[in-house]
């Protein structure tokens, strides 16, 4: 809740446990939120979802948000993609103010959300159809993305013929096919079993390295957050605000072995404390 008190608990925190308020690159690239808040107007009055947020996600950064459920994480995603206008403040993506959908994002939700009447290839091509881009040019890209995630040969299959993990991989391809600068992922592996989930994390890290996208990933899992992130943002309960931002100084490329690293475990412990002190275990 109050970052200052948490820091003063430890006498001399190690480098990775230090709070970083922000590390803005200074230029216009990446995502910049200044004073962004969101209040939903409902019949029962106004429901605040996000308290004013200020932070900056650098271009090409893997940025992970953890927080209890209902802390407005999904609202954050909608604000950045332009699906919702902020109540106050402004969202800047690559220097441009976001008010309506700008299409420079790829979105992956918890459910793969593939259209059951389209085959895998045509599902991946959905953003191309929506943006009215030349289909022929992007077909090759869609196929090479499917190859990148190991779905070569499944182009003509219908979604239900694929396992949950494979479906989610296809939805990652769909988020990348129009070559957006940013990937927004809302608990992308929350519906998968633990083993598949770990594999997908490793895979996602590889995809991010190869495509060099800016990734904003929302998760409930603290180990997943630390494993994937360059920086982790911890959110408070609703209405959401920033509790802390941590650097993850683990070298890349990371393998699952990194989870045994003392830096990793200490960081996971530290982040978990935020939720204990808030009195909510999620």
């Amino acid at each position: 809740m109050k970052p200052a008190t948490i820091v003063s608990d430890t006498v001399q925190p190690a480098a990775h446990l230090r709070l970083v308020s922000d590390r803005a690159a200074g230029d216009a690239s990446g995502i910049k939120l200044s004073g962004v808040s969101k209040t939903y107007r409902t019949r029962d009055g106004d429901v605040p979802s996000l308290r004013p947020l200020d932070f900056h996600i650098n271009d090409g950064e893997f940025f992970v948000v953890v927080g209890p459920s209902g802390c407005g994480k999904s609202t954050l995603l909608k604000l950045i993609s332009g699906l919702l206008p902020p109540t106050t403040g402004e969202v800047l993506v690559e220097g441009d103010k976001v008010t309506t959908p700008h299409g420079n994002v790829g979105i992956v939700f918890q459910n793969a959300l593939l259209l059951p009447w389209r085959n895998i290839l045509n599902n991946v091509m959905l953003p191309i159809d929506m943006k009215r881009l030349p289909r022929q040019e992007y077909l090759a890209r869609a196929k090479s993305l499917l190859k990148l995630v190991g779905l070569e040969g499944f182009e003509k299959k219908l979604p239900w013929q694929l396992s949950g993990g494979m479906q989610q991989r296809a939805s990652i391809c769909r988020a990348l096919v129009h070559d957006p600068r940013i990937m927004l992922m809302d608990e992308p592996f929350g519906a998968l079993d633990a083993l598949t989930r770990e594999r997908m994390n490793v895979e996602l890290m590889r995809i991010q390295r190869e495509t060099e996208k800016t990734v904003l990933l929302i998760t409930h899992s603290i180990p997943e957050a630390v494993f994937l992130a360059d920086r982790v943002l911890v959110m408070t309960e609703r209405p959401g605000a920033i509790a802390a931002i941590y650097d993850v100084p683990l070298p890349r490329p990371r393998s699952l072995d990194v989870m045994a690293d003392p830096v990793f475990t200490e960081l996971v412990q530290r982040i978990r404390k935020h939720f204990f002190s808030q009195g909510s275990l999620d």
Partner: protein
């Protein structure tokens, strides 16, 4: 099915989709015939299956001739209910305002018995085809609207958001996501609607018409000609089955991807 068994041919025949209802039908007819003989039900109350079959054979050309106007009115009414029902459902599902104004009234109007207002159409439109078509339309309309509203509303909002975030226009998103998603529900509404449209057309013929199966029924009841009346019922049932089957076929063509159509999965073992 490693080794062929002697009863294979018979069990295969029993498993054919059309044989089972047929067998059940035979059972019902036999029970009907037995009941008449056992309880000595007089022919002026319930005719025997044999009498009905005899009428069906001798009166076949006349019955066939009379079933065309009924079929025509049914199909017209059904098409109208699909043509109006689906757009109305789109409006209701798409706008809370439209829903709050229109939907309660629509439900209210359903409670008005169509047979009571059918004579009005005769007053307004005469004894031709129009009152029948309207009557069939009014009965077929409601199930289409209710199912289609349900279909349009059950779209995952995340899916719509995803398409919208890719800068899809309202129309594009609707065509790519909402409409295909609603099709299974629309088709289940259409199937109910087509059978009700038959009822609607017959109601129209009851109250004022000089052609059609409903007219035949009306006339045969007037003369206590029960075998003809039952024969007309059989024709009506057949008409309903054929129309239902046609809609079912179209559904299989239009939404082969839907769970209900995945035959290969059901039989894969």
């Amino acid at each position: 099915m490693a080794e062929p068994k002697p009863q294979n041919a018979i069990s295969k025949l029993l498993n054919a989709a059309w044989v089972r209802p047929f067998l059940f039908l035979v059972f019902i007819v036999v029970a009907w015939d037995l009941a008449i003989r056992l309880f000595r039900i007089p022919a002026y109350q319930i005719p025997s299956p044999g009498d009905v079959l005899a009428v069906l054979r001798t009166e076949w050309p006349e019955l066939l001739r009379q079933s065309w106007p009924t079929a025509y009115a049914t199909v017209c009414g059904f098409l109208l209910s699909a043509l109006f029902g689906i757009p109305v459902a789109m409006l209701i599902a798409g706008s809370k305002t439209v829903e709050s104004y229109v939907y309660p009234l629509l439900v209210f109007s359903q409670s008005v018995p169509k047979i009571a207002i059918a004579p009005l159409f005769v007053v307004w439109f005469g004894f031709g085809i129009i009152p029948k078509v309207i009557s069939a339309f009014l009965l077929g309309f409601f199930p289409v609207v209710v199912s289609a509203v349900q279909g349009f509303k059950s779209v995952d909002p995340d899916m719509v958001d995803l398409a919208r975030a890719m800068q899809g226009s309202r129309l594009q998103v609707f065509r790519a996501v909402n409409l295909p998603h609603a099709l299974p529900a629309i088709f289940s509404g259409l199937k109910v609607s087509v059978t009700l449209a038959v009822v609607g057309a017959v109601v129209g013929e009851f109250v004022g018409s000089n052609s059609g199966i409903g007219y035949v029924m009306q006339r045969s009841i007037g003369t206590f000609d029960l075998p003809t009346m039952f024969a007309a019922l059989v024709i009506l049932a057949l008409l309903g089955v054929v129309l239902f089957w046609i809609v079912d076929r179209i559904e299989k063509l239009v939404i082969p991807w839907h769970v209900s159509q995945r035959e290969d999965v059901i039989f894969a073992s």
